[in-house]
Amino acid sequence: MAVCIAVIAKENYPLYIRSVPVQNELKFHYTVHTSLDVVEEKISAVGKAMADQRELYLGLLYPTEDYKVYPSHMIIVYYTPVCIFFLLIENILLYRHTRYGYVTNSKVKFVIVVDSSNTSLRDNEIRSMFRKLHNSFTDVMCNPFYNPGDTIQSKAFDSMVSAMMVQAS
């Protein structure tokens, strides 16, 4: 299923990012980070309509054919020829009791990178993955010991993500 799942804070730093296989982590980080360009573009394009729209799913986002260079012997190896990015804008209102009593609207973003050779994946499945991710994220947020803005270190969230990721063979 997914090869990389990222939760990105409103300020665009990663709250959670995990990818398989691990050795390509850096590449995924670069890709996810760059994809934020498109995310921002989409959000601003959708603009105010987003506010009352319940649909948070932005659909296929950023197809790319990527490769990895091994500097030692200069062989180009095609890794994930087409990565498909799906994105969901997290838009839940977080009511937290803070000392100052304000309400933040968390524009948390989810990015799922899917190996495009996995052709059996349908749009619906991606949506359900997002729904799961969203639910789990909400659970994390409801944890009174979790400080919004911190990286997510929840075991439950982690295992949920693991379940959604393909285990690299």
Partner: protein
């Protein structure tokens, strides 16, 4: 399919459906022009099968001469050459002629058509007036048409139409034209529907056979493309595109199925190794070469995809959707690469890159060809993907062919390049003349290192510009970073630096750790090459502390720093200052003592906890914190309090001297600071008025406003020490005051360093910079936030004296505590306190007095004996040696003598020459106790001035005296009230005369010599006065007694004297007053309502003494000395009604036993034992200055004086009360008397008048009862 080869012309986009023309060719030729013009003029609705939406369609046709070859043979499915309609033209109007030739010709035509199963035909009969005129023997014109209809259109009469005078401009001609055209269009459409429907059915049948072994995708492709061509021909591009998309999807599905293990035989041809990678060709509407390859089943996957896409591209451009082309192109390219992998097709390494590169450029060229510049710029977002893709591919080709290096490519690289170029084949004829063709570009780029660089930079910059233009900064930076990698490979770090810096900044700002590490590593490499030592070291420091790197890498970077640090310093620059943030994080600071407020010279330690981020233990030669010293003078005590509060209120301060440093989230380290504003630190602020500490204002204060409101600029701050020099703030401040720790080893992880803070001068010290030196390298933290500061105060020595109990009582010895806060003064041996002795408060010292020394924290340091020497004037207490800022405590007993009452003002000189302040005494408001402020003057060794300390003592007793008389006998009563809270024993009350006279004797009537006086209780003592000679006018007495607290252990020694002095004036009895109430005559008892006689007799008791005589106002009238007295009968309890005058003035002769009697009438108002009315006597002192007032006659005297009296009594002039009380007789004269000098009344001193009848009562009977109560008993 020979037809195609024969007539390649049909493959232009000018194709039109074919309509054949038979019959009279010259006739058709004459009509052709107008027919071709008028046919497309109106649109027709095309209703279509399978529920597809009807379309309005403009029909055109290609009219060709009928030939039998044109008719499709069986199995030929070529639709483009298919004649959709056959028309037979004739202008025959002659029956003979018709029968002779035309009919036969028509029959032939029909049979040919029937033979080929074509039913779409039309016979056009053209009529013209000209022909009619020429031939006179014409049949009615209908007859020919009827004949034709009869002969050919046996149920389809509409297959024959008449066109009348087509070349003339008449309405008839017009009508016939339009009827004809309508018919023509309808028939054409019918033919389309029928033939296309049949074709589609065939096609679908063919598609259903795709699972059969012999099925070939290429064959099917040709068939469906035929349909697409027809739609294109009919200008139904949308439908045409659908055909290609279906083909595309079908092929994709096959490839995917192949990947899933479900292979089809025909796919084998597509799995052949790719030999040509010449890229897309979009300039021709139809790429015949590729199409032929497909037709022959020889096409490779790339060929098929290229052809398919070129067709889709053509159609999309017809549909004016160029941006969909770019999007589909990107998808296609990605997909092709993916499919080749999936099918495991062998591709020469780099071939695909060539193909993708060429294809990208080709698509971009094609798009540029059909859009203007403005459109292109507005749609960058659609093309930029292709630009980037091309750039990436060129880059990878460059790496592959050894073009990205400082050296020239090797022969191996060159071979590879040649192979790749060979696969491109010849340049297409279309682009041979174009200078910028993709083919030429690729060729050139691969030809040399320089050319490659030129093209690569061109592409990269173009892509970056576009990304910037559409605001995709991250993507732009990623390209920049890849450019930087390129430059680094080329050995050009100067140019790489800028790009790396830009990327690094953005990653740091957004907190992406891995990217930061990766880019920083590249940056380090770059900086090393550039020999930017300082920056390199800074980056190395950051990398050495980066947890994302491996241990080896971190150690490597750490070693870089250490190597530099150990090098002998270059003469030019001495040290290199680096940011502390990379090296270590401050965790917390802890003061000991926790208050962080100490006195001058005290030991203050500061424990700093530092997390060292280096992977190995670091030898730090010196770790120093510079201090900012500010001289803040003020009451040291008060300051201490405020400083304490400040320390406790620090952002993380817990009041125990611990300052926690906020840790950025571990996630991004320094980066988070930039992306997330620091949290608001709000504090409540209360402003209290200094006088009464009432709240004047309150508010909320933001403590870190300077952080929140600062400009968020991109310039390098310490948080992002990525580039350039560190800000000037890092300049090491050579402040004089420093916290220093030398030669420390910082282990990786948490370390604790102990500093000893300088406390030399009073003031406040703020930690400013932290600087650790490792050889030539200094790690500097330019700000320490939150603010860490401590206070050093200097305190003057202070002496206080406080009682042990709440109140000090005068008269008894009590202990007071002397407390000496030494402050900055050190008590040396031989220092002594000199207390000036005062008589009223002696210091009672015992030899066994000891002093306790306490440290500033209240710790008991020691105890030593005090030696106290007392001389007449001075008590000297020699103090034990005490270090500064300690407290010395000892207790002494003092006694304050109770001053005799009333106090006499006496100013004495104190021993030291100062004017002794008289102890003030005033009544204590709360308890009614009299207090005495006793000031003690003390000479302290630390000051040349004497210290005055006031002690307040309270007098425990309050004494009152009164004189009691019985006739001539006198008694003195003293009431002693204990107003303190202590219970006392009172002993030996004695009353003495102060100037003892022999004549008088005070006889004590007190029984007990000792009795307790409880708190708030009183004791009364009584003495009888006996005297022989006349008493003096003034009698000075002194009451004295001993008292001791009940709790005192040794009652005898503890007894202290109490003395009360008072003076008695005019003690002896002058007059005795006797009243007698006599019942009315003839009655035994007084009765209510009956007037009784009241006789008051005033008797002079004693001869006035000399002194007394002076005071007494006496007048000599005819040699007889008299004094005037005024009497007044007042009955306050309303028992009596005084009838007649109630008061009067009498003259009393000054002689013993002189008696004056006054008769009055009173009436009892109630029955019973009534007390006598009160009778008062005053001295009457007529005003000397007004002799006229002197009473001259007895008769008028009474009346007048009463009115005067009334005035006199109410001296305050309360006229209202005068009037009311006012006796009846005074109303008239009141006015005239006003303003006149008045006689005075003066009361007698107590004891001067003895009232005999005090307390007497008289029985009053009720008046005789006249009322009869009748009682009837039945």
């Amino acid at each position: 399919m020979e037809a195609h080869e024969e007539k390649p012309i049909i493959y232009t986009m000018e194709n039109k459906p074919i309509v054949t023309c038979a019959g009279d060719q010259s006739l058709f030729t004459s009509l052709y022009t107008s027919l071709a013009q008028q046919l497309p003029r109106e649109s027709m609705e095309w209703r279509r099968s399978y529920g597809r939406a009807p379309k309005m369609i403009h029909l055109e046709a290609n009219f060709v001469q009928f030939k039998e070859e044109l008719l499709p043979k069986d199995g030929n499915r070529a639709l483009l050459t298919f004649p959709f309609l056959h028309i037979y033209w004739t202008d025959c109007c002659d029956t003979e002629m018709y029968k002779a030739s035309v009919k036969d010709d028509m029959l032939r035509w029909q049979s040919t058509l029937r033979l080929h199963g074509s039913v779409d035909w039309l016979i056009v009969v053209v009529e013209s007036e000209a022909k009619k005129k020429n031939k006179t023997n014409i049949l009615p014109r209908t007859s020919i048409v009827d004949k034709i209809r009869n002969d050919f259109c046996n149920k389809q009469s509409d297959r024959c139409v008449v066109l009348s005078d087509p070349l003339k401009e008449s309405s008839r001609s017009q009508d016939s034209w339009s009827a004809f055209l309508t018919k023509l269009r309808t028939l054409l459409l019918m033919s389309f529907t029928k033939n296309l429907g049949r074709f589609e059915d065939d096609m679908r049948t063919l598609r259903e056979k795709r699972t059969e072994p012999g099925w070939s995708f290429c064959d099917y492709f040709m068939v469906q493309e035929e349909l697409a061509f027809v739609f294109e021909m009919l200008q139904q591009f949308e439908d045409a595109l659908v055909q290609y998309d279906e083909l595309d999807a079908l092929f994709t599905q096959y490839v995917l199925n192949f990947g899933a293990g479900d292979g089809a035989n025909w796919l084998g041809s597509f799995c052949a190794p790719v030999k040509r990678w010449s890229g897309l060709l979009l300039r021709r509407p139809i790429d015949m070469e590729k199409r032929e390859l497909i037709q022959r089943g020889e096409a490779s996957l790339l060929d098929l995809r290229s052809y398919l896409f070129s067709r889709q591209c053509t159609l999309l451009i017809f549909l004016q959707r160029p941006w969909e082309v770019t999007q589909r192109a990107l998808e296609l390219l990605h997909n092709c690469v993916q499919e080749l992998r999936l099918l495991e097709v062998y591709v020469v390494q780099g071939a695909l890159d060539c193909w993708v590169f060429l294809s990208c450029l080709e698509v971009l060229h094609r798009i540029e060809g059909c859009c203007d510049r403005a459109q292109l710029e507005a749609n960058c977002s659609h093309t930029v993907g292709l630009w980037t893709y091309a750039t990436e591919k060129l880059k990878s080709l460059g790496y592959l062919c050894g073009l990205v290096a400082e050296k020239v490519p090797t022969s191996e690289d060159l071979n590879r390049t040649v192979d790749l170029l060979a696969g491109l084949g010849e340049e297409r004829p279309e682009t041979v003349n174009s200078l910028q063709s993709p083919y030429k570009k690729l060729n050139e780029a691969l030809s040399s290192v320089e050319a490659f660089e030129k093209h690569y930079l061109e592409l990269s910059h173009a892509a970056m510009e576009m990304y910037r233009a559409i605001g995709r900064m991250r993507s732009a930076r990623l390209i920049g970073k890849s450019l930087a990698e390129f430059y680094m490979k080329k050995g050009d770090p100067e140019r790489a630096e800028g790009f790396l810096d830009d990327s690094l900044r953005s990653y740091v700002a957004e907190g992406w750790r891995l990217q930061v590490t990766h880019t920083r590593k590249q940056m380090a490499e770059c900086q090393k090459l550039l020999q930017q030592t300082e920056d390199y070291l800074q980056t190395s420091a950051l990398l050495a502390g980066d947890a994302n790197l491996t241990e080896e890498e971190r150690k490597h970077f750490c070693q870089e720093i250490l190597t530099f640090a150990s090098q002998p310093p270059a003469p030019s620059d001495q040290t290199v200052a680096l940011s502390m943030a990379a090296f270590a994080q401050l965790r917390q600071m802890q003061f000991s003592p926790p208050g962080a407020v100490v006195h001058v010279g005290a030991a203050l330690q500061l424990e700093l906890r530092v997390r060292c981020l280096m992977p190995v233990a670091m030898q730090v030669e010196q770790l120093a914190a510079t201090l900012h010293f500010s001289l803040e003078q003020g009451g040291a005590r008060g300051r201490a309090g405020s400083a304490q509060r400040r320390a406790g209120h620090g952002p993380q301060g817990q009041g125990d001297g611990v300052v926690m440093f906020p840790q950025g989230s571990p996630l991004a380290g320094a980066g988070m600071g930039a992306s997330l504003p620091p949290a608001l630190e709000l504090y409540e602020m209360q402003d209290r008025s200094p006088s009464d500490s009432s709240l004047t204002s309150t508010g909320v204060v933001c403590k870190n406003m300077h952080l929140l409101l600062r400009r968020h600029d991109s310039s390098a701050s310490l948080d992002t020490p990525t580039a350039g020099a560190l800000p000037a703030a890092v300049a090491v401040d050579d402040g004089a005051q420093m916290l220093r720790a030398r030669d420390i080893t910082l282990q990786p992880g948490d370390n604790s360093i102990l500093f000893t803070a300088p406390t030399g001068e009073p003031g406040s010290y703020t930690l400013r910079q932290l600087c650790g030196s490792v050889g030539r390298v200094q790690f500097v933290q330019s700000h320490i936030y939150p603010v860490v500061q401590y206070e050093v105060y200097s305190q003057e020595p202070q002496l206080t004296i406080e009682p042990l109990s709440d109140n000090l009582l005068a008269g008894i010895p009590q202990k007071v505590t002397f407390t000496i806060a030494t402050g900055h003064y050190s008590v040396k041996k031989g220092d002594a306190l000199q207390l000036s002795n005062t008589d009223s408060m002696p210091i009672l010292h015992s030899s066994c007095c000891s002093a306790t020394v306490l440290s500033s924290t209240g710790e008991r340091m020691g105890e030593s004996a005090l030696s106290i020497q007392s001389s007449e004037k001075v008590t000297s207490i020699s103090l034990p040696p005490t270090p500064p800022y300690h407290t010395l405590e000892f207790q002494l007993e003092v006694l304050c003598h109770i001053p005799p009452t009333p106090f006499k003002p006496d100013i004495e000189r104190l021993t030291n020459g100062e004017v002794r302040h008289r102890p003030k005494s005033h009544s204590h408001v709360d308890s009614g106790m009299i207090n005495i402020d006793q000031k003690v003057s003390i000479d302290c060794p630390w000051s040349i001035y004497s210290t005055l300390i006031a002690l307040t003592f309270y007098v425990p007793f309050k004494a009152k005296h009164s004189i009691l008389s019985a006739g001539k006998r006198k008694y003195i009563q003293v009431c002693l009230q204990n107003v303190s809270d202590t219970n006392f024993h009172l002993a030996d009350p004695v009353l003495t005369e102060r100037q003892p006279t022999v004549s008088m004797e005070l006889l004590s009537l007190n029984v007990k010599t000792q009795q307790p006086v409880c708190s708030q209780q009183s004791v009364f003592c009584l003495w009888e006065m006996r005297w022989a000679k006349p008493l003096p006018l003034c009698l000075q007495c002194a009451f004295s007694a001993s008292f001791a607290p009940v709790s005192a252990s040794d009652t005898h020694t503890a007894f202290k004297p109490y003395r009360y002095e008072f003076q008695l004036d005019r003690v002896s009895t002058l007059y005795s007053l006797k009243a007698e109430i006599s019942p009315p005559s003839g009655d035994q008892h007084c009765r209510t309502g009956a007037l009784c006689g009241l006789e008051v007799s005033i008797t002079r008791q004693a001869e006035p003494s000399e002194t007394e005589g002076e005071e007494e106002e006496s007048t000599e009238i005819e040699g007889l000395r008299t004094t005037k007295l005024m009497y007044e009968v007042v009955d306050n309890s309303s028992n009596w009604a005084v009838c007649g005058k109630s008061s009067g003035v009498v003259s009393m002769p000054v002689a013993a036993s002189a008696t004056h009697r006054v008769q009055m009438e009173v009436m009892p108002l109630f029955a019973g034992h009534l007390p006598f009315p009160n009778i008062k006597v005053f001295k009457y002192l007529p005003h000397n200055a007004v002799p006229a007032i002197q009473p001259d006659t007895d008769s008028c005297l009474e009346n007048d004086t009463i009115s005067l009296l009334d005035k006199g009594l109410d001296d305050q002039g309360d006229t209202a009360s005068i009037r009311s009380r006012g006796s009846v007789h005074s109303v008239g004269s009141g006015e005239q008397q006003r303003g006149l000098p008045m006689p005075r009344l003066e009361p007698f001193s107590p004891g001067q008048v003895f009232y005999w009848s005090q307390g007497r009562q008289v029985l009053v009977l009720p008046v005789t009862d006249d009322h009869v109560m009748e009682v009837n008993v039945t």
